[in-house]
C-alpha cells in the first residue's frame, strides 16, 4: 500500500512537471527573444540569445514611457478592482439572501450579459457615454481615468457577481443571524462577518479581474486618447505596426509588464489558503 503510494506520487510529480514545462514553453520563447536582435529572432527563434544585454528592455521601457504607463495601469486596476469587489460582493450577498424572483431576475441580467461580445456594444457605448459630458465641470467619461474605471466596473460586475453568488450560497447563514442578534445592522454584519469569510473568492475575483484589466487593449484604446493617460498595453502600440512587429521590444515590454501581476498572484495565493484556514477554524 505504502509503496504504491510512493510510486504513484512520483508519477504525479512527473506528470505535473511535464505539463509545467509545456506551460512554460511560450514563456521561454518570450524571455529569450526579449534579448535578441530583430534578425536573430527569425534565424534562431528557440535558442538562447547570443548575449544577455538589457538594451531592448531599456529601449522598450523608454518608448513605452514605462513609469507613467505603470502608474496609470496601477491606478486604473487597483481602483477598478477595489470597486468591483465592493459592489459585486455587496450585491451578490443581497441577491442570495433576498431569494425572490426579482433577485433571480437581476442575477440573470448580470450573468446573461456576460455573453455579449464586446465588439458589438463598443460603438453604442462610446456614443452613449460621450453624452455624459459636463464641460463646465470638466467632467467627461471619455479620455479620463475615472470614465475608464466606470466602464471597467460595469463590464467586470457580471463575472464577479456570478462568482460571488456561487460562493455565498455555500456560506452558512447562522453566523450572520448571530451577528444580527448581537445588534449588528446589515451593513456591519456584511463587512464585519460576511466579507471576511469571502476572502478566498475575493482574491479569486481580484486575480481574474486583474488579468483582464491589466492586459486589456481595446477598451482603453477607444477611451483614452491623451498620451499622458496611457496604460501599459496602450503604450506598447509602438511595437505593433500594421504589418510588422518589433518582437524584441514587444517581448521585453511584456516581461516587465507582467511582473507586477506575478507578484500580486503570489501575494493573493497566500490569502486564498489563509482565508480558508481561518474559515475552517471558526
Amino acid at each position: 500500500m505504502k509503496r504504491r503510494n510512493r510510486s504513484s506520487s512520483i508519477l504525479l510529480e512527473v506528470i505535473a512537471w511535464v505539463s509545467g514545462l509545456l506551460m512554460l514553453l511560450p514563456i521561454y520563447i518570450m524571455l529569450v527573444n526579449s534579448f535578441k536582435g530583430r534578425s536573430e529572432i527569425f534565424t534562431d527563434t528557440f535558442g538562447l540569445p547570443e548575449s544577455f544585454s538589457f538594451e531592448y528592455y531599456a529601449a522598450a521601457m523608454d518608448k513605452m514611457n514605462f513609469l507613467s504607463a505603470f502608474k496609470n495601469s496601477l491606478l486604473v486596476s487597483i481602483i477598478s478592482i477595489g470597486l468591483i469587489i465592493i459592489f459585486s460582493s455587496m450585491t451578490s450577498w443581497m441577491l442570495v439572501r433576498l431569494k425572490n424572483k426579482l433577485s433571480n431576475g437581476i442575477l440573470l441580467l448580470f450573468v446573461g450579459t456576460m455573453l455579449i461580445p464586446f465588439q458589438s456594444v463598443m460603438i453604442p457605448l462610446m456614443q452613449y457615454l460621450n453624452k455624459w459630458d459636463i464641460p463646465s465641470l470638466h467632467f467627461s467619461m471619455i479620455n479620463t481615468h475615472y470614465g475608464l474605471i466606470f466602464m471597467y466596473i460595469g463590464f467586470g460586475l457580471s463575472m464577479s457577481v456570478f462568482l460571488y453568488h456561487g460562493f455565498i450560497k455555500g456560506v452558512p447563514i447562522a453566523l450572520e443571524e448571530a451577528a444580527m442578534i448581537e445588534g449588528c445592522n446589515t451593513w456591519q454584519t456584511f463587512w464585519k462577518v460576511v466579507f471576511p469569510m469571502l476572502t478566498p473568492i475575493t482574491m479569486t475575483v481580484g486575480i481574474l479581474n486583474l488579468l483582464w484589466i491589466w492586459n486589456d487593449y481595446l477598451l482603453p484604446s477607444l477611451t483614452l486618447t491623451s498620451p499622458a493617460l496611457r496604460t501599459i498595453p496602450l503604450s506598447t502600440f509602438f511595437f505593433f505596426g500594421e504589418f510588422t512587429i518589433q518582437w524584441n521590444l514587444a517581448m521585453a515590454g511584456l516581461v516587465v509588464s507582467i511582473i507586477p501581476v506575478i507578484i500580486f498572484y503570489l501575494f493573493a495565493q497566500k490569502y486564498i489558503i489563509k482565508g480558508v484556514m481561518a474559515g475552517a477554524v471558526k
Binding site: 534578425s39 527569425f42 491623451s226
Partner: protein
C-alpha cells in the same frame, strides 16, 4: 417587497436617462465651449491631435511636433498613438460618437476609405503644400474638384533583389526582360548555397493579393473601364487575357516561390539571411532591412510581366483634416502640415527621419535611403506602373488573399483561381 426593489431598479434606469438627457441638451453649448477654450481670446493654445497608421515614424513624428510647437505659440500639436490594425477601429468609434473630439489630423487610404470618411474631411485646396503636390498624385484625394487629402509619401514596390547573390549566381539583373527570363534566373539563383527559394511573397492580404495582382490590372490598356465592366457584371476575370496570362505566369514561377507562407517580418528576415534572392516588397521595407543589419547590396527589379520594365509607384495614404474640429484647430492642423511639408525644418523630418519619399516639390532628396533612391531613379526614368489596387472592391482583400492561398496550396488551378476571385469580387460588389 418585490415592488419596492422594482421601483428602485426603475428609478436607477430613469436616473441614468436623466443624466443622459441633461447632457444631451448641453451638447450645443459644449461645442461652443470647446471652441471657446481653444480660441486665442483665452490665451490658451489650440490643441491639434494627430493620429496616423505608421507606428514606425511615431517617435520621429513626436519630435517633429515638439519642434513645431516651439516655432509658434498658437497651437500645440499632440501625436496620438494607435497600433497598426487598431487605427481604423479607433477612428470609426471616435467619429461615430463625437466627431468634434476626434483627431484633428488623421490618415486614411484612398478609394473606399476616402469615400467613407469624406463627410468628416475639410477641403485643403488653400494650403501651401497643396500647390506643391507632384503632378497626378492628388487625383485620388479629389472629390467634386476639391482636394481632401495630402499624400503622405510616394511608395514603390517590385522585386527587391540581393545584388551580391545575383553576381554569385552569374545572373545579370538587366537581362531579365521577360517572365521566362525570371524563371530561368530563379533556377540559377536556387543553386546558390543557402538559398531556399528564389522569390518570396508575404502572407498578409496586401502582400499576397493586392500588390501582386496590381501588375495585370495596371498593365492592361483600360484599367478603369475594365474594372467598371467587371463591377457591372459584363466581364469576368477569367475572360480577361491579361489575367489569364498573369496566372499562367504564376504557374511557371510557383515552384520557385515560398508559396507566400511567410509573414512580412519572416519574409524580409529570410531575405536578409540569404534564404531568398528576391522578395516582392516595397521601399517601406527599408526600416526592417536596417534593423536586420543587411550586409549585401540590394535594389529594385521590375516584375517582368508582359515585358514590364517599371516598378509600381504610387501613394494610397493621405493626411486628412477633421472638418468637425474647431476653426482654430483646423487652421493649426493646416499650419502644421504646411510646416512639415514645405518648411525645410519640417521637411528634414519627412525625408531623414520618416524615411519617406516626398510627394511634393521643393525637397532635398540627396540623403535618402537606398530603396527610396531606387524608387526615385525609376520614377525619374519614367519607368513606373500605376497603383490601381484601390479600385478593387472594398473590404474584400482578405477574401481575395484566401483564394490565392488556396491556389498556392494546390487546392485551386490557375483557371480555378480566377473563377474564385471572380466570385469574391461579385459578392463584394453586391454588398
Amino acid at each position: 417587497m418585490k415592488k419596492k426593489v422594482g421601483a428602485a431598479v426603475l428609478s436607477v434606469a430613469m436616473l441614468s436617462t436623466l443624466v443622459a438627457c441633461g447632457a444631451k441638451s448641453d451638447d450645443g453649448a459644449n461645442k461652443a465651449n470647446s471652441a471657446d477654450t481653444t480660441s486665442k481670446g483665452t490665451g490658451k493654445k489650440a490643441v491639434i491631435t494627430i493620429i496616423q497608421n505608421k507606428v514606425e515614424i511615431q517617435g520621429a513624428l513626436e519630435d517633429a511636433a515638439k519642434e513645431f510647437n516651439k516655432t509658434q505659440d498658437k497651437y500645440e500639436v499632440q501625436p496620438l498613438g494607435a497600433a497598426g490594425d487598431n487605427l481604423m477601429t479607433v477612428l470609426q468609434t471616435q467619429f461615430s460618437s463625437a466627431p468634434e473630439k476626434a483627431p484633428t489630423i488623421f490618415t486614411t487610404a484612398s478609394g473606399s476609405e476616402f469615400q467613407k470618411y469624406l463627410p468628416y474631411m475639410a477641403p485643403l485646396d488653400d494650403m501651401k503644400a497643396a500647390s506643391k503636390i507632384v503632378e497626378g498624385q492628388d487625383t485620388a484625394a479629389r472629390s467634386d474638384g476639391k482636394l481632401y487629402g495630402l499624400p503622405v509619401a510616394l511608395e514603390g514596390f517590385g522585386l527587391i533583389y540581393n545584388k551580391d547573390m545575383f553576381k554569385e549566381a552569374g545572373v545579370n539583373a538587366d537581362d531579365i526582360k521577360t517572365w521566362d527570363d525570371l524563371v530561368a534566373a530563379s533556377t540559377k539563383l536556387e543553386q546558390v548555397k543557402g538559398v531556399k527559394k528564389a522569390i518570396a511573397y508575404a502572407q498578409e492580404s496586401y502582400f499576397r493579393f493586392m500588390h501582386p495582382f496590381n501588375w495585370p490590372f495596371a498593365l492592361m490598356k483600360d484599367t478603369s473601364g475594365t474594372i467598371a465592366k467587371i463591377n457591372a457584371g459584363e466581364l469576368k476575370l477569367q475572360d480577361i487575357p491579361e489575367l489569364k496570362e498573369y496566372v499562367a505566369d504564376l504557374d511557371k514561377i510557383k515552384d520557385h516561390t515560398n508559396l507566400s507562407k511567410d509573414t512580412y517580418d519572416e519574409q524580409v528576415a529570410g531575405f536578409a539571411a540569404g534564404q531568398y534572392a528576391m522578395i516582392h516588397q516595397g521601399n517601406w521595407a527599408q526600416g526592417l532591412l536596417n534593423d536586420y543589419d543587411v550586409k549585401f547590396e540590394y535594389g529594385f527589379l521590375p516584375v517582368p510581366f508582359e515585358g514590364n520594365q517599371g516598378i509600381a509607384v504610387g501613394n494610397s495614404n493621405f493626411f486628412r483634416v477633421n472638418k468637425h474640429a474647431s476653426e482654430d484647430q483646423q487652421a493649426g492642423a493646416k499650419a502644421f502640415l504646411d510646416w512639415l511639408l514645405t518648411d525645410p525644418a519640417g521637411q528634414h523630418y519627412v525625408t531623414d527621419e520618416f524615411n519617406f519619399i516626398p510627394v511634393y516639390s521643393g525637397f532635398d532628396t540627396s540623403k535618402m535611403d537606398p530603396l527610396s533612391q531606387e524608387v526615385n531613379r525609376y520614377a525619374s526614368e519614367g519607368k513606373t506602373v500605376k497603383w490601381v489596387f484601390d479600385q478593387f472592391p472594398a473590404g474584400a482583400d482578405q477574401e481575395f488573399a484566401n483564394q490565392v492561398e488556396k491556389y498556392y496550396a494546390g487546392k485551386l488551378t490557375g483557371e480555378g483561381l480566377l473563377e474564385a476571385l471572380q466570385n469574391v469580387w461579385m459578392t463584394a460588389v453586391k454588398k
